[in-house]
């Protein structure tokens, strides 16, 4: 009898648990579901119930240059910042895992610092820095493309360092030593042994770095020049005035692109293992 009661109790517990988990997942997804729904409304005002459905808002995106321009700027900055972030971050991660030296802890923390500093503080600090550099060296810095990219590299580096460090610590050093004993020089060892072993970490670092850069809002607000803004800023400024199916359609395109990128990445690296 007591045993049966315990079984019932455990089963009830399981139901309660699954219910609570579903609720939390629904909560996370709820705003996205409504944005996707809104993108297909026929009328322009987001009132319920919708008067009908239409696909015209997706065509309307292309009529608004600012969305297309914002997307292309965000994409360019993201790709460039991720490439440079990888070039700087992968060697740094190698060094942090493979060598033991006095300043290792503090330097590792320095490279991870950009995630902890609020976006608005990053933006303001870089802004005043650019003002100082511009005044001091008499060159154009403020609001330039390269100033924007340099800021984005800073926020890409922590992701690369963290994820590559994590995958490096799982690599057995003995394989590398074996390669070197067999006559491979350090370069060959890196290309043929180390790099393939840490590829999941690099792919994950690149994905997260790119997405962080692509979606960055707060820091970029201070770094963009007049007339050329990134997609998240275009979306924010649009939403400040009104919400309509056009902006929802823009969001749907973004959700689709990012969802696809994640599914593709998931085939190479199990996302559950890298996050």
């Amino acid at each position: 009898m007591a045993e049966a009661l315990a079984v019932i109790r455990r089963r009830a517990g399981r139901w309660a648990l699954n219910g609570a988990a579903t609720l939390a997942l629904a909560y996370i997804l709820l705003p996205l579901i409504f944005v996707i729904w809104l993108a297909f409304f026929r009328q322009e005002i987001p009132s319920f119930p919708p008067e009908g459905y239409s696909l015209k808002w997706f065509a309307a995106i292309l009529d608004q240059r600012k969305f297309v321009d914002g997307f292309s700027l965000s994409f360019e900055v993201g790709v460039l910042a991720t490439a440079i972030g990888l070039a700087l971050g992968v060697p740094a991660a190698l060094c942090l895992v493979r060598y033991n030296f006095t300043w290792r802890g503090p330097l590792a923390n320095l490279l991870l610092l950009p995630v902890v500093v609020p976006g608005v503080v990053l933006g303001t600090a870089m802004y005043v820095f650019h003002v100082e550099v511009e005044n001091g060296l008499d060159v154009d810095v403020l609001g330039t493309f390269y100033a924007l990219v340099s800021g984005h590299i800073v926020i890409v580096i922590p992701w690369v360092v963290r994820l590559v460090t994590a995958s490096l610590s799982g690599v057995d050093r003995a394989t590398e030593e074996a390669a070197q004993n067999l006559g491979a020089n350090p370069w060959v060892t890196f290309w043929r042994i180390t790099l393939p072993a840490i590829r999941p970490g690099i792919v994950a670092g690149a994905l997260f770095g790119f997405v962080t850069s692509f979606g960055n809002l707060e820091m970029s607000l201070f770094l963009v020049g007049p007339g050329r803004t990134t997609l998240p800023i275009v979306i924010l400024q649009y939403l400040e005035w009104k919400i309509d199916p056009t902006i929802a359609a823009v969001s749907v395109v973004q959700i689709l692109l990012i969802g696809t990128a994640m599914l593709i990445t998931d085939r190479y690296v199990k996302l559950s293992r890298v996050i």
């Binding site: 455990r10 409504f34 319920f48 700087l88 600090a125 800073v154 350090p186 979306i235 902006i247 959700i255």
Partner: protein, 301 residues
């Protein structure tokens, strides 16, 4: 091998070679971050000690703590700080309560949909806070989903005012931060051996007791990490309070932006930025100490 290397011996050469390699690997990233992050922060801090002349909208070089004093003596600004802390604490607690069951299910599931569950949790993180705020605007607006549904059901006569209130902001930030909490907790729970839970059950512990005496203490490091991460993110929130809070609702990050761009008051904006970081750090450390003491007394029992 060269003569100099022979003079110092092969071991010394290898050491020096390693040191050089290590420097060559780490230096570029370090120099870049120092130049593009540390230097700007130092300059911003220096600016926060400058004076500002409101009539001319001009910054004058000085060394004064007047900006910091101004913040803490003006009730307008201390109220904004208090709102930010209150919202962040509420959001963090809600995320912990909502996030734990989902994290547990994701960590323990054997189903092949596990990856899909994780992607669904992570995807919203990547679509930007502004887009998610747009979703909430559709739900909470006067003619939004919630009000239309409630009116249709006859539960209310006139629309509820949720948009542009603290409630909307809290609801919005919870949704933004929940994935971070879930991912942190999930990775820790996955590291806890399932057998420990089974042992508690087979000794007759009901689920609540198992949770309280086994799961919670073992997951405590992850709970602490997730709580701190969620809290920091809530303290720094910008887009959600900006879009869902409206012009009258104020939190710290939008305030920094406002001081910089609308008021052109760089010294005061800089001071607020450092106050925000300092308060976040102090509260985080306090939570850390409290948790650790609690964990120790739990172990003692």
């Amino acid at each position: 091998m060269t003569d100099t290397a022979l003079a110092h011996g092969p071991v010394a050469e290898r050491r020096r070679g390693e040191g050089l390699t290590a420097t060559a690997l780490l230096a570029p990233a370090t120099i870049f971050v120092a130049l593009c992050l540390l230097a700007p922060l130092v300059i911003l801090f220096r600016y926060s000690l400058n004076e500002f002349i409101p009539t001319k909208k001009m910054m004058v070089e000085a060394v004064t703590v007047a900006n910091y004093v101004k913040f803490f003596t003006d009730p307008y600004y201390t109220a904004i700080l208090l709102t930010t802390v209150r919202v962040s604490v509420t959001v963090t607690l809600a995320c912990l309560i909502l996030g734990f069951p989902l994290a547990y299910v994701v960590a323990r599931t054997q189903s092949r949909f596990k990856n899909l569950l994780i992607i669904l949790t992570v995807l919203p993180l990547f679509v930007g806070n502004a887009v998610r705020a747009a979703g909430w605007m559709t739900i909470f607006g006067n003619k939004g989903f919630l009000n239309t549904t409630l009116q249709w059901l006859g539960l209310i006569d006139k629309p509820l005012e949720i948009m542009f209130t603290e409630k909307a902001v809290i609801i919005g930030i919870i949704a933004v931060n929940l994935p971070f909490m879930v991912l942190t907790l999930q990775s820790v729970i996955e590291g806890i051996d399932r057998a420990v839970e089974e042992a508690a059950f087979s000794l007759g512990a009901p689920p609540i007791t198992m949770f309280r005496r086994v799961l919670w203490p073992l997951a405590l490091p992850g709970i602490l990490a997730g709580t701190i991460l969620t809290f920091i993110l809530a303290m720094n929130a910008y887009a959600t309070p900006f879009l869902l809070g409206g012009p009258l609702f104020k939190m710290m990050a939008p305030l920094v932006y406002n001081q910089f761009t609308q008021q052109s008051n760089w010294p005061f904006g800089g001071a607020i930025a450092f106050i925000l970081m300092a308060v976040t750090l102090v509260l985080t450390l306090a939570a850390n100490l409290l948790f650790q003491r609690r964990a120790r007394s739990d172990l003692g029992r």
